[in-house]
């Protein structure tokens, strides 16, 4: 991926096995502390490795830094099928599924031929994996989302989505950590803070975590919404 990054491809389809392997490999690589590797960015089927080529110069001048790093990766990369990652931590995210907190809740339910209660039951009934954090600081892509709730992104995105909004689009569900433009369908809101620059790590969720949504009442939401 250019002269200061490379992309490791673990699979071509984001199925549960590939996602688990991406997570296991990212953990393993992180632990290796390769010199000059500034960032590891796991996504659906890939891991972006951002590196400083100055740390991978070939003293003999025969190989490029890219070739030197790839050679090292090939030496240390384990047999992927043998790599085990600990199951991700389970995060329980309280969500108020009310039209007041999820502007698209009723319209989406109707469009999918469901009652609001059914939609909430489906959405909160699953345990999701965090596929990746991207698009914005702390924005987690969660899946797999039940097919009954799938819908393409809104034709007209909103300029401002309230922070904490829980949303769905295509095969993903996600949470907007801050006020952002957004084209996903808003079905609820969490009082939790998903991203805080003062926290270490700043993002509440990381790739590989598991998430369950816990329905709460509007009253409960207001009590917990400290911001």
């Amino acid at each position: 991926m250019g002269d200061r990054a490379l992309l490791l491809e673990i699979g071509s389809v984001a199925d549960p096995e590939t996602i688990a392997r991406v997570r296991a490999l990212a953990e393993y690589l992180d632990a290796q502390r390769l010199p000059g590797v500034q960032d590891l960015v796991p996504a659906l089927c890939t891991i972006g490795v951002h590196y400083d080529p100055e740390q991978w110069q070939d003293e003999r001048g025969k190989h490029s830094p890219y070739e030197m790093l790839v050679a090292q990766l090939q030496r240390i990369l384990p047999d992927l099928s043998a790599l085990q990652a600990a199951p991700g931590r389970l995060a329980e995210i309280p969500v108020c599924y009310e039209p007041e907190f999820g502007e698209d809740l009723e319209t989406l339910a109707q469009a999918r031929g469901l009652s609001v209660e059914q939609l909430v039951e489906i959405h909160s009934g699953a345990v999701y994996s965090v596929y990746m954090i991207g698009f914005a600081p702390g924005f987690a892509y969660l899946g797999p989302l039940d097919e009954r709730v799938h819908a393409p992104r809104r034709a007209t995105p909103r300029a401002r989505v309230p922070a904490g909004s829980v949303a769905v689009a295509n095969q993903y569900t996600g949470i907007y950590p801050s006020v952002l433009p957004g084209g996903w369908h808003l079905i609820g809101r969490t009082p939790l803070c998903l991203f805080d620059v003062q926290r270490q790590p700043p993002s509440l969720l990381v790739a590989g975590d598991r998430v369950r949504f816990i329905p709460i009442s509007a009253e409960e939401f207001r009590k917990r919404d400290v911001d």
Partner: protein, 337 residues
Amino acid sequence: MNVKVLRPGLLTTVQDYGRHGMQRFGVPVGGAMDAWSFTIANHLVGNDAGAAALEITLVGPELEFERGMMVALCGGDLAATINNHPMPMDRPVWIDRGGRLAFSESMVGCRAYLAFGGGIDVALVMGSRSTYLRTGFGGLLGRALRAGDELPVAAVVSPPCAGLRRAPGIEQRGFAATTWSARTDSGRMRARPQTIRFVAARHWELLKPEARAAFLNENFRIGAASDRMGFRLEGIAIDNPDSGSVNSGAVTFGTIQLPPDGKPIVLMADRQTIGGYPRLGEVASADLRLLAQLRPGDSLMFERIALAEAQQRLHAQQTALAQQGASIKARLSQEKL
């Protein structure tokens, strides 16, 4: 007592080298768009290379210096003046207390870097002083400079180049500059169309030969909707036969994306960490400084090079920067100007 912002300019932000190690949390790297000019400016005032400085875009600010300090200005020529005299670029300048630094319009290039001796002293956020405008953190209160802002600059116990403060004529002009300057290759920066080298990605091979040829022959123009997150290129639409969904994955500074409308986007300093469009390739890092100096409407052409060459060019550029830095450091410790 520091630097007062009288007028903010079009987009003036505090930047350094950006945030590393945080992309896995969705936090963009950010930082100076033309890190090369930024580095030289810091060298010239005796700062560490990564000290926070101002990135000034197209129309610059008007600043008042509440105490005397060293500054240096590198990058695009945005017609800077001090106390209404033209401000020399690419060299250390001592500004006396009360001095006013202003800009009129861009003569060449898009972005200039104003480094202050001691560095801009705002809080570190996740290890960096760079401003991330989109969600508003880092730099000065997470936003661009506004009129009335006070820019804190760290105090320097013994500023280098002491002779400047006693230079002849300083009392009348309110500032003094060295006669020597850093070599900054502004000729290369001025070329239009600018040649931007890139390393092709796998998706490049999926384009039809006509589409690849079209991409390489086109004089693209920087579109009006371009910003620190990405440059949208105007020109021919590149036909993408394999526009089926691409798995989202990591991207980097200089990634060239091909969205469904065929108009390429080059991702810049404040890009998101993950992208979902096909990637044609990445701009050679050594050429990012040239790309960052293109204004909306300026033209560029792409030239494909091999990865090994891109890395050689980057290494040569960084080696030259370090050598220049050492030489500047030696000059700064001398008395003569």
